[in-house]
């Protein structure tokens, strides 16, 4: 009698677990499929907003209709969301395009450069290569604005805060609207 109960609960167990594991895998599969990066969708729209709240000098463009280039240095965390955010958009008459770079040396013309946080080890090299150019550097890596980057996406309580290094923006000859500065944290 007792053995019967045990056997029964074993087969019961085995079946329960098979389906449980299958369920977990299904969840996993759905999860991967539904992989969204809400965080970077929002950050992509921030990048678009920067084009509207920041003025680039005319010398940053070869002519009145040359493209406004948003670059991504290193792995692209935005996937399609940045392309979607800027599709069909213009800065004055400059159509916005997105370019992806693996190395800072690949960059010829660029107006906003998002630097993947994994590039942290190469920051010295990157910042010195961009020094004096009209490039708005943006990243979410730690201390980005403090080490000479211009805009850092900081996260605070699961929300995005902006940290802006004002002297660095002056060095790049960029004029940031007071509207944007009012909602950001100014970092020295």
């Amino acid at each position: 009698m007792k053995i019967e109960i045990i056997n029964k609960s074993f087969s019961y167990t085995a079946k329960t677990f098979c389906v449980f594991l299958i369920s977990l895998f299904l969840i996993f599969a759905f999860q991967l499929q539904a992989q969204t990066s809400r965080e970077y969708s929002i950050k992509a729209v921030f990048l678009y907003n920067f084009t509207q709240f920041i003025d680039w000098p005319a010398t940053a463009f070869s002519n009145a209709e040359s493209p406004f280039i948003i670059g991504i240095l290193g792995d692209d965390p935005f996937h399609a969301s940045l392309d979607e955010a800027v599709a069909g958009e213009k800065v004055k008459d400059h159509p916005i395009t997105v370019q992806r770079y693996q190395d800072v040396k690949d960059i010829t013309t660029c107006h906003i450069l998002f630097i993947n946080r994994k590039e942290e080890g190469k920051m010295k090299e990157i910042l010195s290569a961009l020094s004096g150019k009209n490039v708005l550097t943006v990243s979410d890596m730690a201390d980005f604005a403090a080490i000479g980057g211009i805009v850092r996406f900081a996260s605070e309580k699961n929300k995005i805060r902006l940290q802006i290094n004002l002297p660095a923006s002056k060095n790049a000859e960029l004029n940031i609207s007071s509207k944007l500065l009012q909602v950001a944290d100014i970092v020295r």
Partner: protein
Amino acid sequence: MYIDLAEILKCTECRAGKVVFTLVIFFSLTFSETGLYAQDEKITASELKKLSVEELMTLEVTLVSRTPQKLTKAASAVQVITGEDIRKSGATNIPEALRLVSNLQVAQLNANAWIISSRGFNTIFANKLLVMIDGRTVYTPLFGGVLWELQNALLEDVDRIEVVSGPGGTLWGVNAVNGVINIITKNSKETRGLYVSALGGTFVKDKASVRYGSKIGENISLKVYGQHSDRNPTRMQNGTDYTDAWRSTQAGFRMDWNGTKTNAYTIQGDYYGGTKKTTGGNSDFNGENILARWSRSFSEKSDLMLQFYYDRYYRNDIPGKASDELKTYDVDFQYRFPLTKHQTILAGSGYRLVRDNTISTSPVVAILPEKKNLDLFNGFVQDEISVTANLKVTVGTKVSHNVYSGFEVQPSARTALTLGKSNMSSTLWAAVSRAVRSPSRYDKEYFIPRTPLPPTSPSVAGGPNFTSEKLVAYELGYRVQPTASSTFSLATFYNVYRDVYSVEALPGTLTYQIQNGDEATSWGAELSGTSQLTAKWRLRGGYTYFKAKIKAKPGHNFDPVYLGNDVQNQALLQSMADVTNHLHIDIIARYLDFLPKTLATAQVPGYFTFDTGIAYTIKHIEVSVVGQNLYKKNHTEFNTLNIPRGVYAKLTFRL
């Protein structure tokens, strides 16, 4: 979908599995990309572009409250349940909340007693777990286990519960052999405002809670709370009520002062009291505690913490015949600092004085001597070495001294290798550790009867030679975060125990003594995961396999089955879904294998059951209905008492 479900339910043998499966599939289809609510999760770029910069800044970036980085990268089997998981589950006390952790075996013995352990040895005197509430140790050195009915917290204000299965002796202490449970409540600056709730139901008869928190000065917050609950009895096998209904009342406060950016001070305390019905009459309990903590951070890699607490509990074990009052004074100091660029030292020391007073007027059983002071000194040091950017090795040891077994050394070595990208990384970890369960008063000073009998009459005469139970644990685990909103973890272990508890007669006599006559090995695997499937639907789950071989040492003869009321397979799935902005539906399904018959307890059949909670929120008011253990009218979790199906309705007001 529903017709299928009905078909499936006809097959009773595999009902549990199919119900779990059906629920998962049902929700997957309902909420997946093609489902109704997928839109909300992925805000489109054009929608986002309509928002101002200010509005963009108010959006939540990730949807899961992620555990601190140090946990996801930790080289141990950590599982965390957040306060939100607990509140949504409809749990009404801490043991019910712990049912949400799949690496814990939670068995309700009767209406007011729970038996909880991880990695086995789940006996009535389960004694291999260290449990802390806000840094205050709550297992009792009387028997090494936890009196769960005394441990209450305002669940609304619980920030998270961290459960480490496996040894934590190096950092935490002498009882952290098979696991550590760390219950952490929120800083009072996060619990400002009014919270009032009241519920009434069938098994949980009623519960009322109130909390008010406020800023009382520059950087100072205070909250006070009170709660009361009445709980109905369990049922005996013949269907009549058992005598174990009980009630408890607790009130407390917490004050936090973030003096400067680097200093933080906390003072908190609780007072509680209650009554349990027992077959021998009413049994009262009460207690209080107060804790003060100062922490100071010098840099990201350096801080110190100084903590003091006092805790007292009184419990009338056998009404009118035996009671126990235990007072604990504890001071702990901890300091962390970088030794070199690649090494961080964490060191600490502590002293605990426990004054125990057991009073027994029963001639049958006694703890002798009745009064005893238990001193505990400890010191530990641990070195975290970053061998490369991705490889961390942590070595350390704890040295402690207790009144029964003297000096104990509990070293451990852990290594964690981080693979892949920094924000969606995976960690492979391994550890070897030694931990001890030092003797408790029940091991050393337990007498039946009170007065010694000649060797020709059966008696239990304490455990004069009982020494610590020792464990060497080998662990290997893998933790991965495949997307920003999901984590999966697999932890495996192989444990070797020496000098395990036994009760045996001295040769040629009927005088029994508590000895270390057993040895054991155990092994198992713990799989767990959480996943935010859509903005409005979150799943948590886990599966744990455990197996132990406990045997008498050569020359010993204690039946070791008694020590292992352990489930071999258990699984859990919690689904939390916001069906609309106002309506939340929570479903928790779980399965636990059978427990074997032992010399003290009956065989318990394996069981499947589920809880369902439906909550409707309008502004400050939430109305909810929760069903607990709905699958069957009654089920048994330990020995023979039946835990009935329970339903309650709850009204909550938050301002």
